[in-house]
């Protein structure tokens, strides 16, 4: 028997390691358009100590390690580009502590967004976390290492909401970052020197986060949504600016899609707000819809959708359920490119997105989520494909690559970039910044085993 497999089995138990073709097939690919790369081992650890032992073994044998959370990032960042061990972290799924008064939760990194939402709903109904618009199996750990955002984007990126955390370094040491390194509390990284940036946003190339504190927010008793619709893309940044000035909306998402035809050419702006009473909700609705956006309505520039309860439920549901995107072509596939970009770029993002989709005969699906008080926007270009049709997959891939290039052209930064977008970033980046990144990577991961192929200069 393969001695590495044997050693891995000693660490996690026979049931949770595989070198069988079935697991290697599944873990060699993700859900998007990235070409598969053969994994050599699949391992599902239960504890940070098991992760440490695996990483130490991988260092000794110089085997790549690819950490995997929910596997729904879509851009190929969990595809084992150089083979090696795919480390499925979803067995590390304990919710360890909720500190009600300090409003944070400590979880193992493999806790899913769905599980945390369900847990808070059941046990802490006055608290809420920022949940990404992803399937519920997206993990808390996975989301913060890609700088995800969620439905409390009012408060910033989800990685801004990370308190203290624990990480297994690429050389196998378990390291605590922030308050938990010297205190029983996991609430904060400041005022210590900021070490979080060595891991957040690195796509698992500098270590494996195994436990983390995540900020929670007051959960109001009632939530509601209104959808404001405009035809002119140029109005979207104005509307977003005015609404964020009110500090009343917890999530603002502009979306535009070609199908069904009813929506074609329109910009639909979801404005989610909440309150502890009908009175509070009514007040916010009046300030947002009448006092602030009423002028657009009276000027004939926009209007509100008459939302049916079913549609409201779908938007406000936690976790959110997307019933359509992956099956637009009855093909079980979609991938999107995301950009972190100024809100004022919305019209160009939209216009060029429509053109790219048209060139590849794909119905356009475009979306911009406002982050903070208009401090940034996550704009996504989504391309559906038919998984059973290689030509359709190839077209989507090309459209994604064009969108990557567009982001750089417009002054944005590709979000959770796949290898294609990473190369564009590294080629464009100011050389001293690039050198600093490479020095950090080399210092932390001298054997280059952590998710190799990512954040690498070719």
């Amino acid at each position: 028997m393969d001695s590495v497999r044997e050693s891995l089995a000693e660490i996690v138990g026979q049931d949770y390691v595989s070198t069988e073709p079935e697991e290697l097939y599944i873990y060699s690919r993700d859900l998007g358009t990235t070409e598969p790369h053969q994994a050599d081992y699949v391992v599902a650890p239960k504890t940070a100590q098991e992760v440490q032992a695996i990483v130490k073994l991988a260092n000794e044998k110089k085997i790549p390690v690819v950490p995997l959370g929910g596997g729904v990032s879509l851009t190929g960042i969990v595809v084992p580009l150089r083979g090696g061990i795919v480390l499925d972290l979803k067995r590390m799924d304990r919710i360890l502590e909720v500190n009600e008064r300090a409003r944070y939760v400590v979880v193992e990194a493999g806790v899913s967004q769905g599980k945390l939402a369900g847990y808070l709903e059941k046990h802490h109904r006055n608290l809420i976390h920022s949940e990404p618009g992803a399937p519920p199996q997206a993990t808390i750990g996975g989301n913060v290492v890609i700088h995800g955002q969620g439905d409390l984007a009012l408060y910033g990126f989800n990685s801004d909401m990370v308190g203290a955390f624990e990480v297994v370094l690429p050389t196998g040491e378990l390291c605590k970052i922030g308050s938990c390194s010297l205190s029983p509390y996991w609430f904060s990284r400041p005022p210590l020197p900021e070490l979080g940036g060595l891991f957040l946003g690195w796509l698992g190339a500098t270590g494996i986060i195994t436990k983390l504190a995540l900020k929670l927010y007051p959960r109001k008793r009632k939530r509601d949504v209104e959808i404001f619709v405009v035809e002119d893309a140029a109005l979207v940044p104005d509307v977003a600016y005015k609404i964020t000035h009110l500090e009343m909306a917890e999530d603002i998402v502009a979306w535009s899609q070609e199908l069904p035809p009813l929506y074609r050419g329109l910009h639909n702006i979801n404005i989610v707000f909440s309150g502890d009473s009908e009175k509070e909700l009514d007040f916010k609705r009046e300030v947002i819809c009448e006092d602030t956006l009423g002028a657009y309505v009276r000027g004939g520039d926009g209007g509100f959708l008459d939302l049916q309860p079913e549609m409201k439920g779908r938007i406000l549901g936690r976790p959110q359920i997307d019933r359509s995107t992956a099956d637009i072509k009855k093909g079980g596939g979609f991938e999107y490119v995301g950009a972190i970009i100024p809100v004022d770029c919305y019209p160009e993002c939209w216009r060029e997105g429509v053109e790219i989709a048209g060139r590849y005969d794909i119905a356009y699906t475009l979306l911009g989520r406002i982050i903070g008080k208009c401090h940034a926007m996550m704009f996504s270009w989504t391309y559906a494909f038919n998984r059973a049709d290689p030509e359709s997959v190839g077209q989507a891939r090309q459209a994604l690559h064009e969108s990557d290039e567009l982001i750089l052209k417009l002054g944005g930064v590709p979000w959770k970039p796949g290898v294609h977008a990473q190369k564009l970033i590294l080629d464009t980046m100011e050389p001293n910044t690039l050198r600093l990144m490479m020095k950090i990577k080399e210092a932390l991961d001298p054997n280059g085993i952590m998710n190799p192929g990512n954040w690498e200069v070719q």
């Binding site: 049931d15 949770y16 595989s18 069988e20 073709p21 079935e22 697991e23 097939y25 599944i26 873990y27 859900l31 699949v42 599902a44 929910g70 596997g71 729904v72 499925d88 979803k90 067995r91 799924d93 899913s112 769905g114 599980k115 939402a117 369900g118 847990y119 709903e121 059941k122 399937p135 519920p136 199996q137 976790p319 359920i321 997307d322 019933r323 992956a326 099956d327 009855k330 093909g331 079980g332 596939g333 979609f334 038919n386 998984r387 059973a388």
Partner: protein, 397 residues
Amino acid sequence: MALQDYRDIIHRCFRCGYCKFPTNHIEANNCPAYARFRLESYSAGGRLWLIRAWMNNEIECSERLARIVFACTACRNCVERCPYRFSDEIVNMIVAAKNEMVDRGLVRSTIRNFLENVKKYGNPYGEPRETRGKWADGIGIPRYNGQEFLYYVGCVGSYDTRAVKAAKALGQLLLEAGVSFGVLGADEDCDGNEVNKLGEEALFEMLAQRNIEQFKRLGVTKVITLSPHSYNAIKNDYPKLDGQFEVVHATDLLRDLIKSGKLDVSGGVDATVTYQDPCFLGRWNKEYDAPRDVLRAIPGVKLVEMERNKSAALCCGGGGGNFGTDFLGGGEESPARIRIREACATGADILATACPICLTMFQDALKTEGLEAKLAVKDVSEIVAEACVSKKASTTD
């Protein structure tokens, strides 16, 4: 439908993973096979991707692939949770893959033995047909002879030592309530539900037709089942083979008998009870209320719910023939052991169920967990019987 007929659907699974969750999202392991192994290959989505890879000759049909496919208990959690329009076909696609493997002789000996035993002996245990009715010896249960109801017991209730007690309890309750019923004894045959979910379509049709013919020959119009698996086959599959019978599950009838006063449960049972929804009663046939109504009708019973209940319940891991093939046993994370721990966490004295397969799976898990002093596993019929006995005892006193 044959596996090839699903070629235009099977690639539409995105593997978004909703299929792993219960409706309340409280856990990410509500697919029993995924709960046991926690590898993507064992989730419904992973299974569909592997079946498609096999159809496209990207992987071969190995013993492990067969194990992954047959580990599906057909619990329908995936169907319940999948947000896509083809969701109703998920279990059908997996069963079609099983069918293809069975037809091509690619299955493991445990599955072959299960099916061959059913074929030869009419039960998966390989027990003689003649002993099938032995469970009813000495308790005065009549043979079916034109009574209003046929009491169909099923393989597990007839042979498994633990489930036999539930079969007896129900039989005695029916006698006590004055229900006009009879059993087939040694002439009862396997209902075929598990055979069907194991993909042995031809054997299922043979069994179903044999049962339908026998029922018709004897003039059976109404059937009471102990097992939700039998209930499902007779209710949903037999009509397709021209077998139209009015079928009720035991809990539905018990509810009526208590309500009408034919069963006097006023003796009560002083216990905190939590209830396991059997998949073939709950998710397959949407019956969530009858068992709970029965338990609530018993004085002294305090019904508490596990966090995963009704359509969100975690399967015991025994469906789809897994109670015999045991692909999901043998570890702390076997679904039955997880469920026993969850039942204990409610503070319940009794984990009630309404399915002989759940009963046997949980009884074994209870022993393995070493929790027999804290929790008892009982069929709803047994709890009703205790309430009736208590009443009699107090009357006698």
